[in-house]
């Protein structure tokens, strides 16, 4: 396995277990579906499929260092295509899947913008999308049936430079302006060695995942790690899991899974929406770790999950936490295997006004609970700096996290205007929090980013979309995130100024139009839509909408309305 001790014997990700030999009959991937029998793929079978796909790509003119975009629904083909590109030293990137909410035209525009900006050589997609996309882009587009499957599986494995870019990860923003995080072979391998050490990975581990492969957590923990390390991956579609969350627990039971990565909302989703009858006869006692990462970690969500599933084998020691970002491949910090995340109660006022984490009693009037995301993984160092002056801050002082590591991104692809890493090798994360005894307590973000169900949403994007709704005063819209204990995530709220004294039917139409357009254009749900009269919104002295002041006002009015 790839560990800190064996790291030097790995050059590139093409030293992955399924390409290196070993037991050809060992399970590489089990693909589960709600409506069909599981598909089990051995290492040898996966290697054959990857080599054939690589041969097809070569026949289609794809060459080393070409950028390839894979825009599929989550399926086996997209996994084979990703590795097929790696095999011939092309640079693959998984594009987000089209959801049933999102307008296909918006989706297509996103791919078109990406192709133009990053010089994409070819897009591999579904037969449905290929003819629609072809006239819009300047590069080649191949649907499933354009890829021959009868070529020889003897494509040689390339030998890239370890410092060459292996693949790109695109952030999950709602507009076409995402940055492509370029990761080298060296960075990916360093990360897997350091992260494997933190979670004490063994050859007996089995990973189960429903995560989308275009997201860093899904791509690294739920795809690259098991294939490189040579441990089985049990994968299902995120869309099927969302509708039937019991699938995850059934998969753990059936395949004796040991590791699973989940964003915080998934703990609430499983605990609240799996029906009792679906737990009959199931056991999840095989699990070593559920890893909570990619949105704010809540101890309440862990408690909810534990209370619901202790009867089928969940223990507190299984509930671990991590903090990460694509720019560091995936994880930055992680609780060590078998170690409970630290939880502390601190004074909200001191946190917000004095930027210090002061521990108080649980019944303190301004008590807030913070759950730590472990300590930095091997090869990664973290510091907290003052956002304005850049001065280094001490333990329990709140500022912006900066990181340096042996697995940082090489660059934002084709964005020479952006210099993510400073001259001393530090990357500014944009996340706010503090360190205490090396433990990472994240408390917010520099920008007004909303993280809803693990997806990053920029409020400005939502506001621009709502501005187009007929009846809304252009420029008089604010969007913000609202923490929701029940869902275990941030929900999106929209407040829009409209002309006063309108009839109920018109207001209903505007309200429904806002919800529909946010859903189809941004692919997220506006959970709260409030129409307000002219001059409700607070503006700054320069005339801009003050997002946090309006959020506070909205929360205050809701609390008062609820109390009356």
């Amino acid at each position: 396995m790839l560990t800190l001790a064996t790291r030097s014997s790995y050059r590139t990700v093409l030293d992955a277990a399924f390409l290196r030999g070993g037991d050809p009959g060992a399970t590489a991937i089990v693909y589960l579906s709600a409506t069909a029998e599981p598909i089990v793929i051995t290492r040898a079978a996966f290697q054959r499929q990857v080599r054939r796909y690589a041969a097809a790509m070569t026949a289609q003119g794809v060459r080393a260092r070409d950028l390839i975009v894979i825009a599929h629904t989550q399926n086996l083909e997209c996994m084979v295509a990703f590795w097929g590109a790696l095999l011939i030293d092309a640079v693959p990137s998984m594009f987000p899947t089209l959801t049933e909410k999102l307008d296909p035209q918006i989706y297509m525009n996103g791919i078109t913008a990406l192709v133009a900006r990053e010089g994409v050589r070819a897009v591999f997609t579904t037969d449905d999308f290929a003819p629609l996309l072809r006239p819009l882009v300047t590069c080649a587009v191949y649907g499933t049936s354009d890829v021959p499957t009868d070529l020889f599986d003897d494509t040689p494995i390339a030998a890239p430079d370890p410092d060459a870019i292996a693949f790109l990860q695109h952030s999950s923003g709602t507009t076409g302006l995402q940055k492509g995080v370029a990761l080298s072979h060296r960075a990916v391998l360093n990360h897997l060695a350091g992260y494997g050490d933190a979670i004490a990975i063994t050859p007996d581990d089995v990973i189960v995942s429903w995560l989308p492969l275009y997201h860093d957590m899904g791509l690294i923990a739920g795809f690259m790690m098991p294939l490189i390390q040579g441990i089985p991956l049990v994968l299902m579609s995120p869309f099927e899991w969302v509708r039937a969350p019991a699938m995850l627990l059934r998969a753990i039971d059936a395949y004796r899974a040991t590791l699973c990565w989940l964003p915080n909302f998934a703990y609430n989703h499983c605990a609240r929406r799996i029906r009792e009858r679906d737990l009959d006869g199931l056991s999840i006692a095989s699990m070593r770790l559920f890893v909570n990462t990619s949105e704010n970690v809540s101890d309440a969500s862990h408690q909810l999950f534990y209370d619901r599933f202790a009867a089928i084998g969940c223990t507190r020691a299984m509930l671990s936490t991590s903090y990460g970002m694509a720019e560091n491949v995936f994880a930055v910090s992680q609780t060590r295997a078998g170690e409970l995340p630290r939880v502390e109660t601190i004074d909200r006022d001191a946190l917000e006004h004095e930027r210090r984490a002061v521990v108080v009693a649980a019944d303190h009037p301004r008590a807030v609970v913070r759950t730590a995301c472990g300590t930095a993984i091997a090869g990664t160092q973290m510091r907290v700096i003052d956002r304005d002056t850049g001065a280094l801050l001490g333990d329990r002082q709140v500022g912006e996290y900066v990181i340096t590591s042996d697995c940082l991104l090489t660059e934002y692809y084709r964005r020479p205007d952006l210099n993510p890493i400073d001259a001393d090798g530090w990357y500014r994360t944009g996340d706010i929090g503090y360190l205490a005894d090396g433990c990472v307590y994240v408390s917010g973000r520099v920008k007004d980013l909303i993280i809803n169900g693990g997806k990053n949403i920029f409020p400005g994007d939502i506001e621009a979309i709502v501005n187009e709704v007929e009846g809304v005063y252009p420029g008089r819209v604010v969007a913000f995130g609202v923490d929701d204990v029940r869902e275990g995530t941030e929900l999106v709220a929209v407040v829009a100024e409209v002309r006063a004294m309108q009839d109920a039917e018109t207001l209903h139409r505007i309200n429904a139009d806002i919800r529909r357009i946010v859903s189809t254009r941004a692919g997220v749900t506006a959970s709260y839509v409030q129409l307000v009269d002219d001059r409700w919104l607070i503006k700054t002295s320069s005339g801009k909408i003050a997002r946090s002041a309006n959020r506070d006002k909205w929360l205050r009015e809701r609390a008062e309305a609820g109390a009356s």
């Binding site: 709600a34 409506t35 049933e100 909410k101 869309f239 969302v242 509708r243 039937a244 969350p245 019991a246 989703h269 609240r272 929406r273 029906r275 009858r277 169900g453 869902e487 109920a504 209903h508 309200n511 429904a512 919800r515 529909r516 357009i517 946010v518 859903s519 189809t520 997220v524 749900t525 506006a526 959970s527 709260y528 839509v529």
Partner: protein, 84 residues
């Protein structure tokens, strides 16, 4: 329980708990998921509510946008299995 009582109970639950706006004037034929009023996560929650409240089990494959997008559809689906 009559159809109108059932419809009222479902409407109340959907607007209050899932849309989070009890005053939202939900029409019978309005797309709840396709119109962006709730996300598909909430369909799983609707399944739990229907089972707890009416003792009717709707299997996972039936909890889809195609089958449970409008109050009309949801009411008809629950009514189908309600004891007469």
């Amino acid at each position: 329980m009559t159809e109108s009582e059932l419809r009222a109970a479902l409407r109340d639950y959907i607007t209050r708990e899932l849309i989070r706006d009890a005053a939202y004037p939900l029409r019978d034929d309005e797309g709840i998921v396709s119109g962006g009023l709730i996300d598909s996560f909430a369909l799983a929650e609707l399944g739990v509510f229907v089972e707890k409240t009416f003792n009717i089990y709707i299997p996972d494959p039936d909890l889809t946008v195609a089958t449970m997008d409008r109050l009309d559809q949801i009411t008809a689906r629950v009514l189908r299995d309600l004891p007469k």
